[in-house]
């Protein structure tokens, strides 16, 4: 720990360890903490799926963001330890009272890789350009939903205005999704930028090439010297070159790491995790912030209209058994609808304890009596609901099958319906579902508003003016933690207590690092940050 060039590690790292509860590996991996970082070399990194598009503003998949984070800088940075927003391209900022105007004061000296300066005009061009992408850029559309426009106050000051309170924007300004691209980037079409053509950022790495389904190559940005204060060194990145190899088959990915054909991999499958514990290998782990994997109930459909039924389902799910059986100890049972790595997460473990007797009592009280096949019945209606899901995460199916068995024990029949992406999207748009199974990564509690507010996603199909809406609007209106924290806590409590959502487990990033790879880091949204990474000879 002592030999590493530490700047802002100290308390931050300690807090992250406590927060994620998964040991010292959580912050920095690779051959432990031994050794002095080496300048130069190539990192061969195996990723699990094709990024499809490497423009951070357009694409929101993990594979894509793990690449694009290295290419762009953001106005601010977010501390993974406590979610605090820190300076990056902006030295400081002011937010007005109702969180509708954000004024950023940019640092001096940062340039894009085409040599042009990162100034207020460039930031305005980038935000306008991002907003112009429309609904196809799903993440931008959420972050800039109430975007009114940007104003160049002076060359180093830019003000961003919103038509409605947007406290979440401060966190959004730290994401790669709102990373700043050079004005010249917008001379190219969005399709060209997707393939890296004209993808000009000011980040510590520069795009070199992208071969679909095969590899993406980045090289070090010469002269980079405007990193975030949260990072561990200053100046240029250590690595000369990063090769992202797209290796979809999990066994090939882990085997290639074990046999030294790759230096590091992402998405280590639960079955392969034991391989990389020890023997010079390390396994950095961090849960994703945002909404955990959960069963969100449509409160207007069938048996789920009754809050007692939803609450009984919440008690009937044995989260720890799901984690122990289909996942590994690196994964955490949900303690709220938000993951534990989300800022303003509230621990509601007490409400989410496994309590089949309590579930039975609730169902008895609501008049549901065991039927001939063990499934409860009331007035000729079976206690049954379907869950719609698509195979975005490998263990989804196994997890749901186990939950199905667990709920059977309390007399609830959960029907599992696997759908294609398009079909589940259609079902979600039409609202014709009982339960939907999903997660969302976002290091800000506002994701609850985007998902559950009757004015936004409204996944539980609530009616306008309910208490949840009030709490969600309150947390959206201020960046003042003292006001925001209780409002966010209230929103989480309502969602869990009312059984609008039945949280199950936290999606977790598990990487494997070979003996040569060091210091691949998680940023606040649990995506890859390679600035401090280095490879031994």
């Amino acid at each position: 720990m002592v030999t590493r060039p530490v700047r802002t590690l100290g308390f931050g790292a300690l807090a992250l360890v406590l927060l994620t509860g998964c040991g010292a590996q959580a912050t920095a991996g690779g051959g432990g903490d031994a050794g002095t970082p080496r300048v130069g070399g190539t990192l061969r990194l195996g990723i699990s799926s094709n990024p499809d598009c490497v423009d951070p503003q357009q694409w929101g998949t993990n594979a894509s963001l793990n690449v694009s984070r290295q290419l762009v800088d953001s106005l601010t940075d977010q501390d993974p330890a406590d979610g605090a927003i820190k300076p990056w391209l902006a030295e400081r900022w002011e937010v007005n009272a109702d969180s509708t105007a954000f004024t950023f004061h940019l640092r001096d000296g940062a340039t894009f890789s085409d040599g042009t300066p990162v100034d207020a005009a460039a930031v305005k061009a980038s935000f306008d350009g991002a907003r112009a992408l429309g609904p196809k850029a799903a993440l931008v559309a959420g972050y800039l939903a109430a975007y009114r426009g940007s104003t160049v106050v002076d060359p180093r000051t830019v003000r961003i205005d919103f038509t409605a309170p947007s406290a979440q924007f401060l966190q959004a300004s730290s994401t790669m999704t709102l990373g700043v691209l050079a004005p010249a980037a917008y001379n190219k079409t969005p399709e060209q930028r997707c393939q890296g053509d004209g993808l000009i950022g000011s980040g510590p790495f520069v795009f070199e090439s992208y071969k679909q389904n095969q590899q993406v190559v980045l090289v070090k940005r010469k002269g980079y010297n405007w990193g975030s204060p949260l990072w561990k060194h200053t100046g240029e990145a250590y690595l000369d070159r990063v090769e992202y190899r797209i290796v979809p088959e999990p066994g090939v990915r882990s085997g290639s790491l074990a046999s030294g054909q790759l230096d590091a991999i992402t998405d280590v499958q639960p079955v392969d995790e034991p391989q990389f514990a020890g023997n010079g290998f390390t396994e950095p782990v961090r849960p994703n912030p945002g909404i955990v994997f959960n069963l969100t109930a449509n409160t207007t459909r069938g048996v789920l209209t009754d809050p007692k039924v939803r609450q009984a389902v919440a008690k009937g799910v044995n989260r720890q058994e799901v984690v122990d059986t289909v996942l590994t100890k690196n994964y955490k049972a949900a303690t709220s609808v938000l993951g534990s790595a989300t800022p303003l997460h509230t621990d509601l473990a007490g409400l989410l304890a496994y309590d089949p007797a309590g579930a039975g009592a609730l169902l008895d009280a609501a008049g549901w009596r065991p039927g001939p096949d063990g499934i409860r019945v009331k007035d000729g209606q079976r206690l049954s609901a379907a869950v719609v899901f698509s195979a975005v995460f490998n263990q989804n199916q196994s997890a749901l099958e186990l939950i199905q068995q667990q709920l059977r024990k309390i007399g609830f029949d959960l029907r599992i319906e696997l759908k294609t992406t398009a079909e589940s999207t259609q079902i979600q748009l039409s609202g014709e579902y009982d339960f939907i199974w999903f997660n969302v990564t976002r290091a800000d509690p506002d994701i609850l508003r985007q998902t559950y507010s009757t004015k936004a996603g409204n996944r539980s199909k609530l009616t306008a003016g309910n208490p949840l809406d009030a709490a969600l609007e309150k947390q959206a209106a201020t960046t003042d933690r003292a006001v925001r924290e209780p409002a966010a806590a209230e929103a989480q409590r309502i969602i869990v207590e009312q059984g609008y959502s039945i949280p199950v487990f936290e999606l977790t990033q598990v990487w494997g690092l070979g003996p040569k790879a060091h210091a691949l880091e998680f940023e606040a949204s649990s995506r890859l940050r390679l600035y401090d990474a280095w490879v031994a000879e």
């Binding site: 074990a258 294609t420 999207t425 999903f438």
Partner: protein, 317 residues
């Protein structure tokens, strides 16, 4: 000949049409796939979805969409991929070289091993050895391709560390994918060649040539193999198409780009321009191969040729 050409064009047109129909029968459409691809599901409103549909022309009446696509396709333009915005034809031609590489490697290995087994198996005087060698080809078509590929990777790349499991650098990177993709084809070639070699060796002329004092090797390689190779060679043309079918599995295992990966992704996301570009390309290959085979047929014994094609098609289906 004109008639055959017209038929070929008709087949390509029908393949184009069939792919259009199938993709429209699927639930949902490309716009939903594009907007719903993000983690957490769709965030767009129905109005925004409609706007994206309009952008890709997905809200036109089916007939209009079909007409537009067909007209553009006759000019070599299949449109842009809905998922990535790339030109569909460009995507196909970008992916093609990688696929042709492993397909060629697979074909060479298939001919060498399949042919070698058949020749040795029929040449050897040791009955047990012949039986053993000739029982290998059927084994080759009875193992799941992905399993064979994984075992090869496990042994030669991860345990012995002789060959790379991924990457496209150099000849060594082609060996394992070549074996994986070539195995079923080699097995078919082996089976067919062994059978026609046996038939040839049972012909009366063999006795005569031997009686004239020719060596056994000369009869085997000079006469029987030459006669037997012709139908097997015709077969190579037919199974080349089968190689393409094995690409999706092989490319996934060996982390390579190619037509298979491109197609699987495009079908999953209902990316009609890309799927149609692939289909028309493969239909073009198919009719070309068939035209060539039709031209070669009269040059061979018609009876033999007819039978071999049937067997080949049956075994390689």
């Amino acid at each position: 000949m004109t008639r055959r050409l017209l038929q070929a064009v008709a087949v390509i047109w029908a393949a184009f049409t069939l792919s259009f129909v199938i993709l429209y029968l699927l639930p949902g459409d490309a716009a939903l796939n594009r907007l719903g691809a993000a983690e957490g599901g769709i965030t767009a409103t129905p109005a925004e979805v409609a706007a994206v549909r309009a952008e890709y022309g997905l809200d036109d009446p089916l007939v209009v969409q079909y007409g537009k696509r067909l007209w553009a396709a006759t000019h070599g333009d299949f449109g842009k991929s809905v998922m990535t915005g790339d030109d569909a034809t460009g995507l196909v031609f970008d992916a093609l070289p990688s696929t042709l590489e492993i397909a060629a490697a697979g074909l060479v290995l298939a001919v060498l091993f399949g042919g070698g087994l058949a020749v040795l198996g029929t040449y050897t005087r040791h009955r047990w050895l012949g039986n053993l060698l000739l029982s290998l080809p059927p084994l080759g078509v009875s193992l799941p391709q992905f399993w064979v590929g994984l075992v090869l990777i496990q042994i030669f790349s991860f345990q012995l560390r002789l060959l790379p499991a991924l990457g496209t650098d150099g000849f060594a990177a082609l060996i394992l994918p070549g074996i994986t993709i070539g195995l079923p084809t080699g097995a078919i070639i082996g089976q067919v060649l062994a059978k026609s070699l046996r038939t040839q060796l049972a012909e009366p002329y063999v006795e005569i040539v031997l009686a004239k004092g020719a060596s056994r090797a000369r009869v085997h390689f000079g006469h029987a193999l030459r006669n037997a190779a012709l139908p097997a060679l015709t077969l190579v043309g037919v199974v080349a198409g089968n190689l393409l079918a094995g690409t999706v599995v092989t490319e996934t295992l060996f982390s390579r780009d190619g037509i298979g990966r491109l197609t699987a992704f495009a079908v999953n996301s209902q990316d009609i321009p890309v799927v149609q570009a692939v289909i028309v390309l493969s239909a073009f290959f198919f009719v070309t191969i068939n035209l060539v085979v039709d031209l070669i047929y009269p040059l061979l014994d018609p009876r033999l040729a007819g039978r071999v094609t049937r067997k080949a098609v049956a075994a390689g289906a």
